[in-house]
């Protein structure tokens, strides 16, 4: 009996050690990925005859080097956090929503329309209305692909992806013709009213209440996924649909809800850019934030909280690259190399883990 208890104590402490070392390993893993990606980037910089150290110093300075740089990075991270949440909501529910970019466009356009189309509302109400409308627009853009999936088993990877093109070209048409504005040379809508603009914090930086709002939404999504009935259903369906069906969970309804919430979050992300940064809808405004969101959710391993650091890191890369280019003439495109290496390693890890699980020990 005593021997047995001892054995149990031993396994308990070894388990604790295993848990701690696994958290440490995770951090080490991320550090190594980052190091490797920056290393490949450094090789590319050196190969073009420039100084990698100086380039990376400029990158860091541009991203986090001053209050204003930091504020700008946080501002840019806002839409990335929201797009990341959109991806987390979809992927933890087994909905493979590749239409986040399109949903972002639809949300952005509707937010702009509400922003300039309605006059005389109190600011708070106007902003809330614009966000709600953009959420509905984003969700609606996900509706057709997910209904095709739940009704006829049409793969939503393809349909949601195709809907991106419809969204970008449709909104491009809208601002080129029916909503064409004379106030701008770019194809875009009229500027939104002052009451719809997100209040900013710092003079000279677009950082707005959009950022804290995104942080609040992170907490809400976390709570929803891990503490509510429907969040539980969504995650269980996502982890093992056969188990979910066997246990009597609403598999199709969960897929539908997962896509709608994902689309709504993407729409809100688009709105945050329009109401907080651009002040109007312009074509090609997004720079692929919907795709960034997917990569961010991969980096964050579908954990809503981890979306925050992942998005800030990505935003820092984007902002820092501008400073890097102007200070050291290393083109901003270099950052794509670094991102590409990260993406490559992260997906390879996901894939290898999948393989390791399938093979018996």
């Amino acid at each position: 009996m005593t021997a047995r208890t001892e054995a149990e104590v031993v396994t308990d402490t070894s388990r604790l050690r295993a848990m701690l070392s696994s958290a440490g390993l995770q951090l080490l893993n991320y550090a190594l990925i980052l190091l490797l990606a920056l290393g490949v980037g450094a090789l590319a910089i050196a190969a073009s005859g420039k100084d990698p150290v100086a380039a990376y110093q400029a990158l860091l300075r541009g991203a986090f080097g001053s209050v204003r740089a930091l504020a700008n990075t946080l501002d840019r991270s806002t839409v990335m956090i929201l797009a990341g949440l959109a991806a987390v909501l979809a992927f933890s529910t087994s909905v493979r929503n590749l239409g986040i970019e399109g949903q972002l466009y639809m949300g952005a356009f509707i937010a702009a329309w509400v922003g300039f189309g309605i006059d005389g509302l109190p600011s708070l109400l106007h902003i809330v209305l614009a966000f709600v409308a953009s959420a509905i627009a984003g969700a609606a853009w996900g509706l057709v692909p997910i209904l095709l999936r739940t009704r006829w088993d049409v793969d939503e990877i393809v349909t949601s992806l195709m809907f991106n093109y419809i969204a970008t070209f449709f909104t491009a048409y809208l601002v080129a013709f029916p909503f064409k504005s004379d106030t701008t040379i770019l194809p875009g809508t009229d500027p939104i009213n002052a009451t719809a603009k997100l209040p900013r914090f710092i003079r000279g930086s677009p950082l707005s209440v959009g950022f804290p709002m995104a942080l609040v939404l992170v907490v809400v999504v976390y709570w929803f996924l891990f503490r509510t009935k429907q969040g539980y259903e969504l995650r269980m369906v996502g982890m093992n649909p056969r188990f979910a069906a066997y246990a009597g969970l609403p598999v199709k309804r969960s897929a539908l809800l997962g896509m709608l919430l994902s689309g709504a979050m993407a729409g809100v992300g688009g709105a945050s850019l329009i109401l907080g940064f651009f002040g109007r809808f312009i074509t090609q405004f997004s720079l692929g934030y919907g795709w960034d969101g997917i990569v961010i959710s991969l980096l964050a391993k579908n954990n809503p909280i981890a979306v925050i650091p992942a998005a800030i890191f990505y935003a820092g890369l984007a902002n820092g690259s501008l400073e890097m280019q102007s200070a050291t003439q290393v083109p901003t495109m270099l950052v794509s190399t670094v991102k590409g290496v990260i993406m490559f390693i992260v997906t390879a890890q996901v894939f290898l883990r999948h393989l390791a699980r399938r093979s018996p020990r």
């Binding site: 295993a18 503490r227 995650r235 982890m239 056969r242 188990f243 979910a244 069906a245 066997y246």
Partner: protein
């Protein structure tokens, strides 16, 4: 006979588990050696080390008297060691002959000699009585034939030491008999056979000597002719007396029909009729065993009753109310619990945490959630009660279910399905497959307890011993149809065996 294999002082550490702890195993040439023990006792690890699939941390291996290092399977094969895995590793679209020669095809120049390989396979086949059809594709071959192909494949590679990992788990009784005849002939021919098994009856029937392993150590090796099933199970469990779960049929109080099927037809995944107009009754307090070789419609029948598969025709009544084609949740709420055959893919969500698995069928009830939020506290305290009551061994409620061993994972399923105590009918498919003796006994007693509390149990099992041990009444399913065998008595085994292989039809 000379020594064929000697493994001395073998030690293998996996993270958190000492799989082999200073294990000695010496086997003579021409011997049939059974290696028995519970899941996780270290049998398979030891064999994988011998076959070069794992590397031992310590210890030496001698093959035919010479000390060797076996870093990979290629080396093992070159030393004359062959292994037939539990799950076959073949190319389904290739023929039997092609699979046998795969990797060392007879050839002339660069050209593959199809005729030569057919002849080689037929030669080996007739020499050892391993009946196969060389031109049949593997995907069309029966499980028994596939296994014979695996054995032929080892023999083709000139194996004289053959490892079989739970070879009978997938076989019917008559296929098992055939396999044993083959193994005896191979042993007479001088081959050494290492036979891993859970089933003591088979071990006693086939082996010369039996090595028992427990917790990574060898408990002992005995001459099989001089031992008994009781002695072996004592060595395996390490307990003086094992109360073997068997049904006290006299005490069973059988009542009204709980489940009543009439003319039920169900299609399989390919749209073919898998259940053909089946009628049956399960009464309260009764365990009805459905015996039969897997793939004869049992899975489809269980899925139709539990709502996972549409019922094409007929009616299914639970306590007089029709439940066919209702949703899974409606059927569960009407009082049906389901222990599915595939516990890893369906019975649990392996990546979800233990508590998330335990509340899978009850999370939405008033006790466990408000209108929106889950009441995590009451879910967790209920989960604690369940794992205690059903003896689910897990370090914490907050680890993924995949960390649990097979037996504990199944106890988790049983805890969730039976713990709520509202089920009137339990549909249990292959409830103890691949589970060690202690776990099997525990799960069978849980099912018997549940029946004695007035529920009906529909036990679907390919393991005839299990059916005979705990069911009150037996039917056999063969090609989608049921044949009633009746209450269990001494002649049941033989009758069931004839019906389930189609001999009596």
């Amino acid at each position: 006979m000379a020594e064929a294999v000697a493994m001395l002082g073998i030690t293998k550490q996996f993270p958190g588990v000492l799989a082999n702890d200073d294990v000695d195993l010496v086997v003579e040439g021409g011997e049939i050696r059974a290696i028995v023990g519970e899941n996780g006792a270290g049998k398979t690890t030891l064999m994988r080390i011998l076959y070069g699939l794992e590397k031992a941390d310590k210890g030496t291996i001698r093959v035919k008297g010479e000390e060797v290092a076996i870093p990979n399977a290629r080396t093992a094969i070159a030393l004359g060691i062959g292994m037939v895995h539990q799950h076959f590793k073949m190319v389904p679209s290739f023929t039997v002959a092609q699979n046998v020669v795969l990797g060392m095809e007879p050839h002339r120049g660069v050209l593959y000699e199809e005729g030569q390989s057919r002849n080689d396979v037929l030669g080996l086949s007739s020499r050892y009585g391993l009946v196969v059809e060389p031109d049949r594709r593997i995907m069309d071959a029966s499980v028994g034939e596939q296994q014979r192909v695996e054995i032929l494949r080892a023999l083709y590679r000139k194996a004289d030491i053959l490892i079989l990992d739970e070879p009978t788990a997938v076989l019917t009784d008559s296929e098992t008999e055939e396999l044993f005849a083959i193994l005896r002939r191979l042993a007479q021919d001088g081959l050494t056979i290492l036979f891993i098994s859970h089933k003591l009856r088979e071990v006693l029937a086939i082996s010369d000597n039996t090595t028992v392993m427990r917790n990574g150590r060898v408990v002992g090796t005995v001459r099989t002719a001089q031992t008994t099933s009781d002695e072996l199970s004592e060595m395996i469990i390490g307990r003086a007396s094992l109360e073997s779960a068997s049904r006290d049929r006299a005490a069973a109080k059988v009542g009204e029909a709980v489940l009543d099927l009439e003319g039920v037809c169900v299609h399989d995944a390919r749209g073919l009729l898998a259940v053909k107009s089946v009628s049956l009754q399960v009464r309260s307090g009764e365990i009805l065993g459905i015996a039969g070789v897997e793939g004869n419609g049992q899975l489809e029948l269980a899925e139709a009753i539990t709502g996972l598969r549409p019922t094409a025709e007929g009616r299914i009544a639970l306590l007089g109310n029709e439940i066919q084609n209702l949703s899974v949740r409606q059927i569960r709420e009407a009082g049906v619990a389901h222990i599915p055959a595939d516990r890893y893919a369906m019975g649990v969500s392996a990546d979800a945490l233990v508590w998330e698995n335990l509340c899978g069928t009850s999370y939405y009830e008033e006790e466990f959630s408000g209108r929106i939020a889950l009441s995590i506290d009451s879910i967790l305290s209920n989960a604690r009660v369940l794992i205690k009551e059903f003896d689910v061994r897990t370090p914490t409620l907050h680890c993924p279910a995949r960390n649990l061993s097979g037996g504990n994972l199944q106890k988790l399923v049983v805890a969730r399905e039976l713990g709520a105590e509202r089920a009137q009918l339990v549909v249990a498919s292959q409830p103890t497959r691949g589970i060690d003796i202690a776990g099997t006994e525990a799960i069978r007693s849980m099912l018997m307890d549940y029946a004695s509390r007035g529920a009906g149990v529909l036990l679907i099992s390919a393991d005839l011993d299990e059916i005979l041990a705990i069911s009150d009444r037996v039917v056999v399913m063969y090609e989608g149809q049921l044949t009633e065998v009746g209450t269990v008595d001494a002649s049941t085994r033989e009758r069931v065996g004839r019906i389930m292989t189609g001999a009596d039809l």
